[in-house]
Amino acid sequence: CIATTCQPMCAGGNTVCDPRSNSSSRCEPISLELCMNLPYNLTSFPNYLGHLSQRESSVSWESSLFPALVQTGCYQYLMFYACTLLVPKCDPVSLQRVPPCRSLCRSAKEKCESVLSIVGLQWPEDSDCSQFPEEGGNTTCLLPEAGVDECSPSHFKCRSGRCVLASKRCDGHLDCDDHSDEDNCGCSERALWECPGSTVCIKASMICDGFPDCPQLVDETNCSVCRDNELSCNNHQCVHRTLWCDGRKHCSDSSDEWNCVSLSDRSGSVLTVFKTAAEYQVCADEWNDELSELTCNQLGLGVPDQPGVQGRRRWLHVHPEWHQRNGCWLAVMAYHKQIQFVSLLPSECGLRQAVGLHPHRKKR
């Protein structure tokens, strides 16, 4: 029951289902991104390469191989042919797969196999053309219609008909042999948004989505209009100040609870807590090891100390057993009980203790 094509029968509980059998049980919409431009949108599995699902197709080496081969321009309809193998057309009435015609297979193989051999690769074994019907026979088969779009959505079609990766469009490099990938490169011409002060173009959906994409992060500024007693979350929601850092998530991205415990920038070693939208330096009379450990954890995995910090910090009260423990440590200043961080060592991360682990060094 692992194969998706078996599941309906498995649900019945007692049918033996062989996913490799040709009787595909149902058509499914095509989701393989490489093949979203086909004149049909339903497929079924197993396909003609033995893959049992679109997911398997998507991670197959053929799904990497064919787009690379398309770049060579060896055959105009290579991608169409590849997709008839990867996501074969499914007839919604008969639920049968519709194969490519033999002539299409032959043309692709004749024109592109030699290109593959140049780089030491072989034509996919189980795409033998003799298994496909001749066109005009009593079995329907697929041939490209005139004007079929050879490039997948993640490619840009040069004026010359070649496909180049969509990200090569307007990247300042001439990738199409006719240079058409560098024509009309303004953001608006491509229905994109131009980052102010730069030539970077981004999709409109990336504006104010909480992830900075423009230089100077301008796509994430002025995104929310919060009232005076509110703060803006990373995803630009507004949350009341009193709820900020109260130990509960109020922003849907939980950013109201980020960085609530930190070391103050100025000295980089004074413990501060951000509470109800204000920073407080921690000053505590009863401090104990548990609070030390909690604070270290809340700060992440520990912060290296700042060698050479100047100033009058000569006092250093260290826990009597400090030398037996490693990790982030605290010292309490003698006169105004300000908590200072002194980190002797980062945590025990990244160390290998097993003996004799560096033979390779000798080998060099």
Partner: protein
Amino acid sequence: ILGGRVSRRGAWPWQCSLQSGQSGHVCGCVLIARKWALTVAHCFEGRESADLWKVVLGINNLDHPGGHSQSRGVRSIIVHPRYNRAVVDYDISIVELDFEIEETAFVRPVCLPQPGQLPLPDSYCYITGWGHMGNRMPFKLQEGEVRIISLSQCQSYFDMKTITPRMLCAGYEAGTVDSCMGDSGGPLVCEESSGRWTLFGLTSWGSVCFSKVLGPGVYSNVTHFTPWIQQQIYIHTYLTD
């Protein structure tokens, strides 16, 4: 790992194996704290539920875990919200173990990089895993040394995909050491002068590692994600819903 060699026991105490049901080993993972590990998001495609998975640590031979191994269930899986399956971008996930591990010589977390800390191009680092060796799948953990490659140089190898700042490239242009299927989620670590190892990459994708046409391996750039990782650990550790 292509072109690697068998690792010694305890050589990579942060290396773990992400296993699922009948399939056993599916992906690599990396221990970063007593209850937290990192792997890549694409390992969970089709199997998003935490109770399908378990994490095994402290092993060298997948078939013979041995007395140093520790096995934990998975309490939660945190996939990066911006993970893009089509272009394998933001390929990272955090795994919360159901119980803390016991730190031993064979089970120990790796260091996370400091903000902005990146391995220099041309520096040498290590990749490890139980992934394909080119002719078979290994039982014993493999290791291989790879050279860090700049993003611009890396992009020149991949016409079909865009190398983004969330990625890190490593491997030899014409060499043989590379990661392969089954290594995904495993570590790319570099040794610092202090003798500590820092995690800079998680095996993510690359050229078709079976073919003779090789290109560098592409790894999730852990430095880019360190703030997100720490935020998520903080939220899942200290916040009540």
